[in-house]
């Protein structure tokens, strides 16, 4: 991978409906926090990486112009990276590559979304060209189709998948209640989830992420700088990213190759051979509870077709073998462009023991993940407490 890289600070806004602030103010909220957390100043930063969803969601073609001051990027190099839902992971990877290559020592990575300023589903409908891959139903239908394909491929009973998805949703919402920055903070029961109105069957209301405003900032540093600046860095143990071909029907999305291959690459680099046993916590990108079931399999955390069994027996619940999304995950907070970087920040908080009420006791090795595009991209970053 090149030189060792560490996370030396994280900053997140209070996520939710943030009509109280202009968009640059929101970005500044996260950037201010990350500098306070890392204990450095913009003078110490060699470069900035920024990403969000496409311009349609932002209200302008290049929001990094609008945010130049909030990003403290004036007089520094800027790289913009975006890959739809996986943007946050891509932003982190850009910063990691930048430092690992030896071209920079300290890089500020920022991602944001202010979904209440525009129309997220209208934007999602413009992600693809408008004459060939014309699907109905926006993002929820794309991922519901994938979940149903997975259920059909493994002959998973509707009721069993429903029960497991409800557990995923209840666990995530319980996490959200413990995370003061989460957008949705409600107590749900399995029955609340399974009886909720249908959005895109099998997906119901509480199987779906909210529309959120929020920003996340993470400062990455080289080994030398991290050891000098930070008492307890979170070390990048491995990263992986994979893309797929454009047309959704061209491959079997129940056995999602980009998730499988991206995680394999990250595990290999991190020296992980049994991820379920070796990882202490996972921040799996879960905008839809059914999709998390499929991710658990494709991330190699349980055998193919068996995620519902593992979820029902509590493997991924709080106190289970591998707690997933203790922060509440994307199901509670979804500023899309930032959601993948929030997963990285949460993984860093966990392995440095700074996650507060949603801390997984003694976590030393954490996986973070995000996916994006029309079932097209997957990115993984694994962080650990030891170099």
């Amino acid at each position: 991978m090149g030189r060792a890289v560490a996370v030396i600070g994280t900053g997140q806004t209070k996520h939710g409906r943030r009509d109280d602030l202009s968009y640059p103010d929101l970005v500044r909220e996260a950037v201010k926090k990350v500098f306070e957390d890392a204990g450095i100043t913009p003078k110490d930063v060699d470069g900035v990486v920024y990403g969000s969803m496409p311009s349609m969601m932002e209200g302008m073609a290049y929001n990094h112009f609008y945010f130049a001051d909030a990003l403290r990027v004036v007089g520094k190099p800027l790289l913009r990276t975006e890959t739809c839902g996986s943007t946050g992971q891509s932003v982190a990877h850009t910063a990691i590559h930048w430092i690992a290559s030896g071209m920079a020592d300290v890089v500020l990575a920022v991602a944001s979304e202010k979904e209440h300023e525009g129309d997220a589903q209208a934007t999602m409908m413009t992600i693809l060209e408008p004459f060939l891959m014309v699907t109905i139903g926006g993002a929820p239908v794309a991922f519901s189709l994938q979940s149903r394909e997975w259920m059909g491929y493994y002959h998973i009973d509707d009721d069993k998948a429903r029960e497991a998805a409800s557990i995923v949703s209840v666990d995530s919402h319980d996490g959200g209640l413990k995370n003061p920055l989460a957008h949705i903070r409600v107590k749900l029961t399995k029955e609340d989830v399974s009886k909720a109105p249908i959005i895109t069957y099998p997906v119901r209301l509480y199987d779906v992420c909210p529309t959120s405003d929020g920003a996340c900032a993470v400062i990455f540093a080289s080994e030398e700088k991290a050891k000098k600046i930070c008492k307890k860095p979170a070390w990048v143990k491995g990263i992986g990213f994979r893309g797929e071909e454009y047309f959704i029907g061209d491959s079997n999305k129940a056995v999602w190759q980009s998730t499988i291959e991206a995680s394999k690459e990250a595990y290999k680099e991190a020296g992980i051979t049994n991820p379920l046993k070796e990882l202490d916590v996972a921040e799996v990108y879960n905008p839809f509870s059914y999709q998390e079931l499929m991710f658990l399999e494709c991330l190699g955390l349980c055998p193919p077709g068996e995620a519902p069994d593992y979820v029902i027996k509590g493997t991924f619940s709080p106190g289970g073998e591998l707690p997933c999304d203790p922060s509440g995950g994307v199901l509670c907070t979804n500023p899309i462009g930032a959601a993948g970087l929030i997963r990285v920040a949460e993984a860093a908080l966990q392995v440095t023991g700074k996650a507060g009420e949603h801390q997984v006791e003694g976590a030393k090795l954490a996986l973070s993940h995000a996916m994006g595009g029309a079932e097209q991209f997957n990115g993984i970053t694994i962080l650990g407490s030891e170099l």
Binding site: D19, D20, L21, M56, G59, E117, D119, Q121, A122, M125, E129, P130, F131, L132, M133, V134, T135, I136, G137, G138, P140, V141, S144, L145, Q146, R148, E149, M151, G152, Y153, P197, I198, I199, T200, Y201, P202, V203, E245, Y246, F247, I248, G249, D250, S251
Partner: protein, 160 residues
């Protein structure tokens, strides 16, 4: 910042841009086929796959796909979803609808374009879960007036 009595407000903005997007020779011919109620795929001479919609080049082999094949208008449901919420441009009278990915007979991929399931009372959710299943057989139903675009297939009917 000092206390301020005005609640922060928003300002309206709108961006609209018309586009003229080139179909190129392959997708032009593909949509011309729709006018004649034909579903056309192209075949890769290297890997032998037949793909719908037709492709100018094989996504895996990177070779031109110049051999045209008229494919079956029947197939099986790979996956489906019951869409029951309103969003941008969709009003309550336009839902529910059923989206699907369909594998046409003799085609080597699933097709997700113009693949709404219809021909049954979609508002009757119980009926839908009885008839619409992964693996169920479907058949294309064309619009009477066709214009050479994705709307030409009105819906896909479940074959009993």
């Amino acid at each position: 910042m000092a206390e301020q009595k005005e609640k922060p407000r928003k300002v309206g903005a709108m961006g609209m841009v018309p586009y003229e997007m080139a179909l190129g020779p392959t997708w032009t011919k593909f949509f011309e086929g729709f006018k004649e109620k034909k579903i056309l795929g192209t075949k890769c001479k290297k890997c032998g796959r037949v793909l719908v919609p037709a492709r100018p080049f094989c996504p895996r082999c990177f070779e031109p796909m110049e051999e045209w094949v008229e494919v079956a208008q029947e197939g099986t449901i790979v996956t489906w979803s019951y869409v029951n919420y309103t969003y941008f441009g969709v009003t309550p009278d336009m839902i529910p609808v059923i989206g699907a990915i369909i594998k046409l007979d003799g085609v080597d991929c699933g097709t997700g374009m113009s693949t709404q399931i219809g021909g049954l009372d979609i508002k009757d959710f119980e009926l839908v879960t009885k008839k619409v299943k992964v693996g169920a057989r479907v058949k294309a139903v064309w619009r009477r007036k066709r214009q050479g675009n994705f709307r030409d297939i009105d819906y896909w009917k479940i074959i009993e």
